[in-house]
Symmetry: C2
Subunit: 422 residues, 2 copies
């Protein structure tokens, strides 16, 4: 992984030490070094209770931090490899979406993950109830059909223990949006055939490079300083990834960045924040690029490139009648074209002089590089959060909506008392 | 369609007259009244040359304005109806994406649309060459397998006429991102089984309401005035749609808004623009909402709700051991839950007092309502563009990147001369 900044700034002093100090209480920092034997044991037990090869579908019932991470990684790797198993996500209460996801899977041969840190996420439990009820209607046994990933001691864990199922924990001091390298992300990915050790190895490489004076330290510190210092004028950060396989990665980035940095500042009531926008090239050259090039100067741009694509299919060297002028592309590999497009965008933006740009180049899409990318963004988020003087790891702003919803549900209950559950 | 604004402003004078004047030269305004007999003739001819029922896959080779519109509409309608045919999009040069789209379709029974206003879009022609070459390799006849939608007299049209194929035109004064209600959007949708007349009827209803002093006129004028006047402080506009089926609609909105309004002002070199962000509820309550609630006050929010969902599946009235506290949702339809979630978000945001909010309620997802929504957003874009004093209909900012890419391709050609095409 390479990261080149096309802007300069003096790094804020003391910020590195703050991150070193923060490490002791924030759990995600230690995830790269975790011993995955608990997951090896889990898989072994899983195989002793289920016909592993017969399971073709893995479905995650989860939302936000419980779905975006594994989805991002699986989707990226699908671009380079065929998996035996498919991964599905139940991450909405939209009935059309629930039904369409159900239609895609062979429910008899599906293993379900129910992932909720608190264990009481309304969307997750609602869909879980629907799935339980459906399985019962179809007389499909529930035994060992579910893996629950939740906080140690949550009500969901207590529930899980009332029947034969698997339970894994999210470490207490690891927040949902930083949980992709915990059991929440690793367990479903491991079951689906992802090399999770290499994911962690990639993350560890970035961690070491940052904490042990490696190449990424200065770059991350500069980039974070620039973003934090300019958060009032460049209040939007765009991540422009030149690979369709990274479209769910950008969704993961949007949650991480937005939910971590959109906060009231500590010791003040001032609202601060940086708005993340995920873009995919070359598609969004035909959509969002005009706004970056000629619009208000409120955006920084990170262009993310893949150096080596596995697939070398070429634009055929054929001349189309009346379109002879377009023979220019003949014989060029699509992967070279997409990288030329990325480079052209970078050059065009650099020409403007007043758009802060940096480029990240991954050698390849694979577990190790995705692990690097994830940890890079987590570190960057922590750094910017420290500099903007916010609590990067909470999300108090979503509580009021939850309380209002509970009120509405209680009101509904008064008007239409529920039938007795069984 | 209802639109309620929770903010007030005095409408800028003279703006309505400017739109009335603009109508004469900008083609999209007249699309709702178009006579669709040319498309009826097209379908009839299509059926005389192809076995219509045998065609299961329709693939659009196009990018930006040539793919986002039909994708948005088809995806929305798929939420309420099963279609006999599937719609696929080739909208990238990413080799993994090209291959994965090809894997999803039965190429022998696929009809291809090649959609490019200019007729020379590099991405589109590159993929088209790949498809042509693949069909030849597989000895699949090309006769009547393609429909080309392009400007009258383009080189692509000349090419189309060199073999048996269908050709339709995008009216000259209709730009790509405003072309969804022209042949570019209507033809593939019609072939896929969409009731395009009802789409146009919906658009016409909004058009008449706006131009003939109906309910939407004052609302649109106020909203546009507010957005334009506050474009420097509220520089981000979020569209928060509570329906998964509208996820591609938000992509369409992002292109329309960003590419139309991100411009240098007329008679000045000042960069202005409004940044669109598409969100989907309740998913993005667990991602982006924290940033809206507690972050920098730089965002307006439009919450889009569907009043009636077709699917009435309910949360089963079962009590889960150890999770008795979550019986609150028992027996509630998912569609009611999602709307309660939308209302809770609206209330929580209104409590903040300093976030400009409006709500759009569609009675239902169907052709007519989607037609209304499209035309509503097109009109809003035109109004804001006029008030911000930009040319809403061009996109000069993307030209420099294209020129740089051509230079790179020429350079590549010098180093590796292409084999002679055949």
């Amino acid at each position: 992984m390479k990261n080149s900044l096309y802007f300069n700034i003096k790094v804020e002093e003391g910020i590195f030490d703050k991150i070193v100090a923060e490490q002791k209480s924030i759990g995600y920092y230690t995830l790269p070094e975790q011993d995955i034997s608990y997951l090896l044991n889990y898989l072994e037990e899983f195989k002793s209770k289920n016909d592993y090869d017969a399971i073709k579908d893995i479905a995650i019932i989860g939302i936000g931090g419980s779905s975006l991470g594994p989805k991002a990684i699986f989707r990226a790797l699908q671009g380079i490899r065929d998996f035996d198993k498919r991964l599905h996500l139940f991450e909405s209460t939209d009935p059309a979406s629930i039904r369409s996801t159900l239609n895609k899977l062979d429910i008899k041969n599906t293993h379900f993950f129910v992932i909720s840190k608190s264990g009481t996420t309304i969307e997750t439990i609602s869909v879980y109830k629907y799935v339980i009820s459906l399985l019962k209607t179809k007389d499909i046994p529930l035994d060992y059909r579910f893996t629950f990933v939740t906080d140690d001691g949550s009500k969901l864990e207590a529930h899980a223990k009332t029947f034969n199922s698997f339970v894994l924990h999210i470490p207490v001091n690891v927040g949902g949006r930083f949980s992709v390298l915990s059991a929440a992300g690793l367990a479903p990915l491991f079951l689906a055939g992802v090399d999770i050790q290499r994911l962690l190895d990639g993350a560890l490489a970035i961690k070491q490079s940052f904490f042990e004076d490696g190449y990424i330290k200065e770059t991350l510190l500069k980039k974070a300083t620039y973003y934090a210092k300019n958060s009032m004028n460049y209040n939007i950060n765009t991540l422009f990834a030149y690979s369709e396989s990274l479209d769910s990665f950008t969704d993961w980035y949007v949650q991480l960045w937005g939910e971590s940095l959109g906060k009231k500042q500590r010791h003040s009531s001032f609202n601060v924040g940086l708005t993340p926008v995920g873009l995919i090239g070359p598609k969004d050259q035909h959509s969002f690029l005009q706004l970056i090039v000629e619009g208000l100067r409120d955006k920084s741009v990170t262009v993310l490139k893949i150096e080596n694509f596995d697939d070398k299919i070429k634009i055929p060297a054929i001349t189309l009648k009346e379109l002879e002028g377009l023979d220019l592309m003949n014989g060029i590999a699509f992967c070279d074209l997409i990288n030329m497009q990325a480079d052209s965008t970078i050059e065009a933006l650099l020409d403007k002089k007043d758009i802060p740009i940096d480029t990240i180049t991954l050698q390849h899409i694979d577990e190790e590089n995705i692990g690097k990318l994830i940890y890079y963004y987590e570190l960057l988020t922590s750094l910017v959060g420290q500099m903007m003087n916010v609590n990067t790891y909470d999300q108090p702003g979503v509580e009021s909506g939850k309380k209002i919803l509970e009120g509405k549900l209680l009101e509904e209950r008064k008007n239409f008392p529920p039938k007795k559950g069984k």
